[in-house]
Symmetry: D2
Subunit: 317 residues, 4 copies
């Protein structure tokens, strides 16, 4: 996780990182976040009362008014009130948003989607996260954050991801699914380079392993990645039909590792799959800000939603 | 089509109907609309200068600022500037919206979705139309209307609807698809009641034919309808994951013909298919206003978006 | 239905036709068959004791030793002992076989599959029938005929045919499914030629209607036929992987109506879908004998399986 | 691999095993087989001229007259003339058959399918192998062995196995596919027992790991296995429709590890998916002879097809 302290003109004051260590439990996880924020403040020689507010981006659906993270399988979290926890600790307003919403808001304010009317982000990782900024605001439901694009059904397969509905985008196209397909290729002797680089343990088949195997000549691995990106292309076509965004942002480690291949397939499928009148209404782009997008977005969103005279905004993603 | 004249408190002054006769061409179609509006005014003894504005709901994606209907296959329309045409004819502001957006706005203002933060409508017919009112406004893209829910890919079939993407909700679950499946059942001797009522011509297998065949005992027909409603249930689950609406409205002739069956299947599949934290955040309902929803919505939307001192608002859907 | 009397060198003596009129019930149906055979004999001036035997091809699975037709939905038959009925009537041995098995045996003995080691026939119609001659014998199970190729699952769709298993070849690619898709195209204005020729009643959208609509320029109809033929191509790939036939025969009215299109798609998909080592082991051909294949095959099969000194063999399909 | 020497009453004289080590290349692989046979003879104190013949079962399609293995990805073999090689080495007739055909013939002669008219075996492993004995003979094509059941398309997914056709039984349901799904579950924290037992390396997620994880309480792993077995059930339904076997044999390591679960799902899906008249015509059973089935079948098949006065038959699988 990354903590960044910004001044009131969104210039970075201090940036600090820590491993998430999600498996150590909820209490430990919350404390690690608080520690990281405190260390950031200490490094910057800033006291709590100078802090205008905190914006934090967390995975999964968020209960927005209460700042509760509903479920974050990778952290082992279920209904964790991280907003209240941080607010009591740092005596300032806290805004909890979905991490991809934060990233998309960051790209909207400072990155590759500036001035877009409607921008949707699709970030494939262990799952596939999504976010949307529409007319200047993060698109949300009455109570919960929205844009869980990974749980959109796009296929008739029998495999399922974390929901009781088979054929979701996530189970067809997440980095984890790609890693599992690659492990099968390695086992069958069809991906010799990947076998050398990452073996058959899916925890070791990371975005960079995949990218390197493709560079080293594993055609079969490239084919798996293209196939997954095509599925994301269908997901984008669905999103265009539902929201008519003018910008689609692709981001996350896998996209950063193979940007050309990924962008080419998503764009090709999305463009050919939408109704003709939508074809020229949207652009597909790779995210520009990398890891900073989430922190900048969370901070900027908190700043926009907190009336204050204080000077600094911190953000954690 | 239906034309309704409302006073400034949205009470109906006059309501008139005419057959659409889409097959007679664009010019004739536009004239028929203008004639119907004129007849409505005449019946009400209202002159053009008493008309505050016109709201019109048209099928398919709409270019919102210019009032252009992008494509409406049932009317044979392609980029028809109906807004400008009516504006010149009746010398008043015209707001063109998608017909299902109009219907959903109507239900939001006057019907089964009053006070909803986010309401999405799904209306199966020849295709499957959709609409969304979010935080009081019709959800839209920068240039075009949105919520073309029928063109959302949800399956891996090889059949396609009007887009170059197979497996869309529309090709799996529209009334037209149901009619085609029923015709096959009739041909194979598996739907004797439907065969008596509607034969094997899909133009004669209307919503009421289907509903009557089920009442008369054609289990196979009921099964086809339930299967289609289940597909719509998956579409609703996708929409919940993307937009987190608090209300889903089902409407249109087919839903009105078999409301219990339809609602039961859509609700069942949607509830079980979403992430657990969304399960209690949305309600699935049948539309309350019938045919009036579209006219009331179009008129109310026009009234909200037109600054005027005049008294009456007309609407056509 | 067609009745043919052959002499002992398989030269046609008399050929007679009658409408099947399946809807009039089992008793009437059996009588019509007996009448047709009697008329054939009368025309040929042949008495019952000159008849060596009867071969009859019937749709659906056949209980081979007892000559029982298990189920023939188009005839409304369920466990009809047609073999015993004819045997008592004409006092001669009767061999009941599946109609496509008969046709394939006909092609194997006299038509486009002579000398094949293993030939499989795929005949799309209301359903999709299949047959196989392997090493000179009709391939069969212990009790029942086999090769119900139409009920092979090849897809993940939710639609089903006569079995409780969705995604069968039959529901994806039968002539009836094609007719239903065409009716939808006609309804949506995308198949104007077909609409003129056959309307939207699927009983009127026959093989010749489809073929003519394509000739007249309905690209969308051609697309539907190609798509269906591709599904048959996948079915053929499955059959190649299971049985390794050296010849595949395509037959029936639809194939006869659009032989080039159909053959092209089936061959293309089948060739590219099989394991490389099977690619050159099989040939895909159109049936050569038309309607006579079934009668000749049924007669030849009966002759081969009946030890007799009598001279003539009749066949009905 | 396993080598067994039988006397002329099919009693085992000597049984020897060796690791296959497929990755060491074709020459080495052939030599290892020859060495194993020689060691078997030596142990039995048998000279080459006492050897009546050799039967050998090899994976993948086999060119039967020439004894060539067409392709065996796990061995890295492509068109290897193992028959000729062994024949020259041991100066006796050699019969090369597909390994699952051998196993099914073994079960037919000595195991759980004795006296069956038509028995089909389905053996899931890295791929999914198949075999068929029909009326006493191994069912075959003119040139190649048949029953490559793993390459039968049964679904509309976009994933593919070794053929250019997505949605095959193998990519949906092989042990390798199950292992990959389990690795994903382990990664997402949904299969804690499997994670402890086998980690996330698919080469370590073996049949016994899977079986133990289920016993230890991983419901998600059980669900994956049941889902895969259901797909095999659809494959069996297809086979019943095509060949009407009276016995289906399930075998291989995975089936042996979870026989009840596997048999239950395959039988349930197969029985409910076939046409009613086939429902009571077939039985689904687990293989009885374990590893010996292949050796016994290969030897018995060779003995049946080799006219000889010599006493002993060897077999390797």
């Amino acid at each position: 996780m990354l903590s960044v302290l910004f001044d009131d003109e969104f210039q970075v004051v201090v940036r600090k990182r820590k491993k998430t260590k999600g498996m150590e439990g909820v209490v430990s996880g919350q404390e690690r976040i608080a520690d990281l924020i405190q260390e950031t403040l200490t490094d910057a020689n800033i006291s709590i009362d100078q802090l205008a507010g905190i914006g934090i981006g967390c995975p999964g659906p968020i209960e927005l008014e209460t700042g509760i993270v509903c479920i974050a399988p990778n952290l082992g979290w279920r209904r964790v009130a991280i907003g209240e926890f941080l607010s009591k600790k740092f005596l300032c307003p806290v805004r909890v948003v979905n991490d991809v919403d934060a990233g998309v808001y960051g790209e909207y304010r400072f990155g590759s989607a500036m001035n877009a009317f409607c921008v949707v982000g699709v970030f494939p990782g262990t799952g596939i996260g999504g976010g949307c900024v529409h007319d200047g605001r993060i698109l949300r439901g009455m109570r919960l954050s929205a844009m869980e694009v990974g749980h959109m059904k796009i296929a008739s397969t029998s495999r399922s991801s974390g929901v009781d509905m088979p054929g979701t985008l996530e189970c067809e196209a997440s980095r984890l699914s790609i890693a599992a397909e690659c492990a099968k290729l390695a086992y069958r002797g069809e991906a010799p380079e990947l076998l050398k680089l990452g073996g058959m343990d899916i925890a070791n088949i990371r975005s960079k392993t995949i990218s390197q195997a493709i560079k080293n000549g594993d055609k079969s691995v490239e084919r798996v990645v293209r196939l997954a990106a095509q599925q994301v292309g269908y997901g984008v076509a669905n999103i265009v039909h539902l929201l008519s965004p003018d910008v689609i942002i692709l981001g996350g480690g896998l996209v950063e590792a193979v940007p050309e291949i990924y962008l080419e397939e998503v764009r090709k499928i999305a463009k050919k799959s939408v109704m003709e009148c939508y074809e020229d209404t949207f652009d597909v782009r790779v995210a520009a800000l990398g890891d900073d997008a989430g922190a900048m977005g969370a901070a900027a969103w908190a700043a926009k939603n907190i009336s204050t005279q204080a000077e600094k905004v911190g953000a954690v993603v």
